[in-house]
């Protein structure tokens, strides 16, 4: 009886949600020119005022930059909570854990792949305003590179002090650029640098600086998460 009621409720909700999608046309009418003024403004401002090639980046970092600061803060709080829960439970390699010595092939392959992965991550966040990707994506790619090294070498360590210094500096850079925009331009994260020409590496004003800061911050935080979880006592 209970299951029947639940299924009935879900069916009614599903019907109305799908009806909404059919009425709107799932993206069709929004793409017609002139119907959504906000969309038109974003597309125009991105190319003309900011000269950024990737519209998603300009929205995430510039028009909705304050939300991105909130996201970074949420990630920082989650990492801090995880670290504070698992802090006392460190143990050495050799106990019952995921850390055991890998074979020669794995260690050599990891050593070969690690610089390439870090380079790819750096490329993704430096070119965030030109090609798909950005700070979050590049940071996660760098963190997976460190994960590979941590799994391959049981004695591979990451300095916690270096991680926290990198993370703090990146956070300060993000907030400082935003505050400088507040002083100089009148609103938080206002652009105060010359925007350059479209499709140039040095274009978009403060957007590349902020995305590089976000990339370093995310990479440091997620590397810290992986290190903490891997060295947790089972």
């Amino acid at each position: 009886m209970k299951k029947f009621v639940v299924i009935l409720l879900l069916a009614v909700m599903g019907y109305y949600i799908s009806a909404i999608f059919f009425d709107i046309g799932f993206g069709n009418s929004h793409l017609v020119e002139g119907i959504s003024p906000v969309k038109d403004a974003y597309l125009e401002e991105t190319v003309n005022t900011l000269s950024v090639a990737n519209t998603v980046t300009s929205i995430v970092v510039n028009f909705r930059g304050f939300d991105t600061l909130g996201e970074v803060t949420v990630l920082f709080l989650a990492v801090t909570a995880l670290g504070s829960i698992l802090y006392k439970k460190r143990h050495q390699a050799g106990d019952r854990s995921v850390l055991f010595s890998a074979s020669k092939i794995v260690t050599s392959g990891s050593k070969l792949l690690f610089p390439a992965i870090v380079l790819l991550g750096a490329y993704v966040f430096i070119h965030g305003h030109l090609s798909p990707g950005g700070g979050f994506q590049g940071g996660v790619i760098i963190a997976t590179g460190f994960l590979l090294m941590l799994l391959a070498y049981e004695n591979f360590t990451v300095g916690h002090n270096a991680l926290s210094v990198i993370e703090s500096l990146a956070g300060i850079t993000f907030a400082g650029v935003g505050m400088w925009g507040l002083i100089y331009g009148g609103s938080f994260l206002e652009n105060f640098l010359p925007v350059g020409t479209l499709n140039d590496l040095f274009s978009g004003g403060v957007i590349p600086i902020i995305y590089i800061a976000v990339g370093f911050k995310v990479a440091a935080e997620l590397t810290g998460v992986i290190y903490t979880v891997l060295h947790e006592k089972g």
Binding site: N54, V56, T57, S97, V98, V124, P132, G133, G134, F136, Q137, V140, I141, A143, T144, L147, L222, V225, I226, V229, L230, E232, G234
Partner: protein, 94 residues
């Protein structure tokens, strides 16, 4: 037309992997199935012209989440024990 068929096949693959990961008692296999869901989802995002989201999904869903689940399984138990679960439910009802 072929594009539409491809999208339908990918959706069916995702649903199949999701059902498999729920039914499977071996938690390691279930975790790999959730990784397959993320992989297919990132391909779908790419086909639907959202490459930014596809990159995020590929990096976080396939690599990081799967690895953290595997580490957790390595540190706890691998098999989902049915009898243990039933007794827990019974004691909960009483």
């Amino acid at each position: 037309m072929i594009y539409f068929i491809l999208i339908i096949v990918l959706f069916l693959l995702m649903i199949g992997a999701a059902v498999y990961s729920i039914r499977q008692k071996d938690l390691l296999y279930a975790t790999i199935a959730t990784g397959i869901i993320s992989l297919v989802l990132s391909v779908l995002f790419y086909l639907l012209q959202a490459p930014d989201v596809a990159l995020t999904e590929a990096a976080i869903g396939v690599a990081l989440t799967t690895i953290i689940f595997i580490i957790t399984i390595r540190n706890t138990v691998r098999y989902e024990d049915e009898s243990d679960n039933k007794e827990k439910f019974k004691s909960g009802v009483k």
